[in-house]
Symmetry: C2
Subunit: 227 residues, 2 copies
């Protein structure tokens, strides 16, 4: 099974990692599933347990699988998406990077809000409204709402039904919040208000209004963050 | 140096990998640089050579470094960007995926073409014109022009001076060409023509014309590829 790729100069562990990765891609093991243990994998793939262990480490380095000590190895919930998939942390000018990331959000998210207005289910809208309330509570309690903020934008992206953007938006938004200081935010009431306008427009299935509300929201953010 | 992260439950190899990664981020080793050999790294980081070897493999799995047999280990030209950073190959509906990827291109690339019109240098425009000619030659010779096509869109993205999009565009475009059959392309003269219109508008520093030309170009492609 593994002979042909031997010629490619890959180590045996890398070949075994590729094989396990294909089994995941063929849906034999699905997102969140526990993989068979080392012994079982070694028997099935006819290699030593040391090779299996090394292969699993390579897959964990790319977040294809997650090793939980004492529990076993599981298929990642976001397989193949590493913590910093676009290598953004290697770009040294963080101010410039944050500004350019925000520009990418401005290109993508208004169109995504429009698609969300066309495709969101009523359950998804309810969930968004709940997150809006939670963000308002956090802001009024002067607590950090960044995680919930990312959750809201991810929920909107997911409800658009585009299969790519729900991976992309949290990556970009998380990167911005990592690279710049978000503690000194002034326009908090505007955040609450513009979030609600976006969700309201999605609820009303008004694509153009959702798009414009998202543009306004990101416009406020860009200004507020001095980007 | 490595004690504090010991508590996080990471293996020693992973900690050493993180340390080498920080040295790269701090620009001690730059893109394309050769890393010190195993012995030197082991001495500096006061760990065994086996640990260094394992750490290097973890970094190679995420394309932070590239191991060239017999030559040494080098900092990747695109550090941290794996072959499939968005885990797209794990999405099983490839037709849907390709269509949604094309939608993301339609959101980003017209705005990027506009920025390119504002920011491209005359050398960059010359390079784009050269690639347009090469694509025309390939198409007329009935040869595959996909690599050159990606090169042109990447050159436009780079000339926009946004630091994020030049990583994003080739990822998306390569994924589309991987997942769908591009051999049966009909609108080849339109490809040549619309590419030239985009570059012409960038050359004339006409942002709106560049944006519209890119919209037309991607519109043709979307139709042509039946997405």
């Amino acid at each position: 099974m593994l002979e042909s790729s031997q010629q490619s100069g890959q180590s045996l562990a890398q070949q075994v990692a590729n094989k396990i990765e294909s089994l995941i891609k063929e849906q034999r093991y699905k997102t969140g599933d526990k993989l068979p243990n080392e012994f079982e994998l070694a028997t099935e793939l006819t290699v030593g347990r040391g090779t299996i262990r090394e292969a699993i480490k390579l897959l964990a380095a790319r977040n294809v699988v997650v090793i939980q000590r004492g529990k076993g190895t599981f298929v990642s919930k976001t397989p193949g998406i590493t913590e910093d998939p676009l290598g953004l942390s290697f770009i040294s000018d963080k101010k410039r990077l944050s500004s350019d990331l925000m520009d990418v959000r401005v290109m993508i998210e208004p169109e995504i809000a429009k698609l969300a207005a066309e495709n969101a289910t009523s359950e998804e809208v309810e969930q968004m409204e709940k997150i809006c309330d939670e963000i308002a509570t956090l802001i009024h309690a002067n607590e950090n709402h960044e995680t919930k903020d990312i959750e809201l934008h991810s929920a909107i992206a997911k409800s658009s039904k585009n299969v790519v953007v729900p991976s992309l938006i949290p990556i970009i938004q998380t990167a911005i919040s990592l690279f710049i200081n978000l503690t000194n935010r002034s326009l908090k009431e505007e955040t609450i208000e513009t979030h609600r306008q976006i969700v309201e427009a999605i609820k009303n299935k008004d694509g153009e209004a959702a798009k414009k509300a998202m543009q306004r929201h990101l416009g406020y953010n860009k200004e507020e963050l001095n980007l």
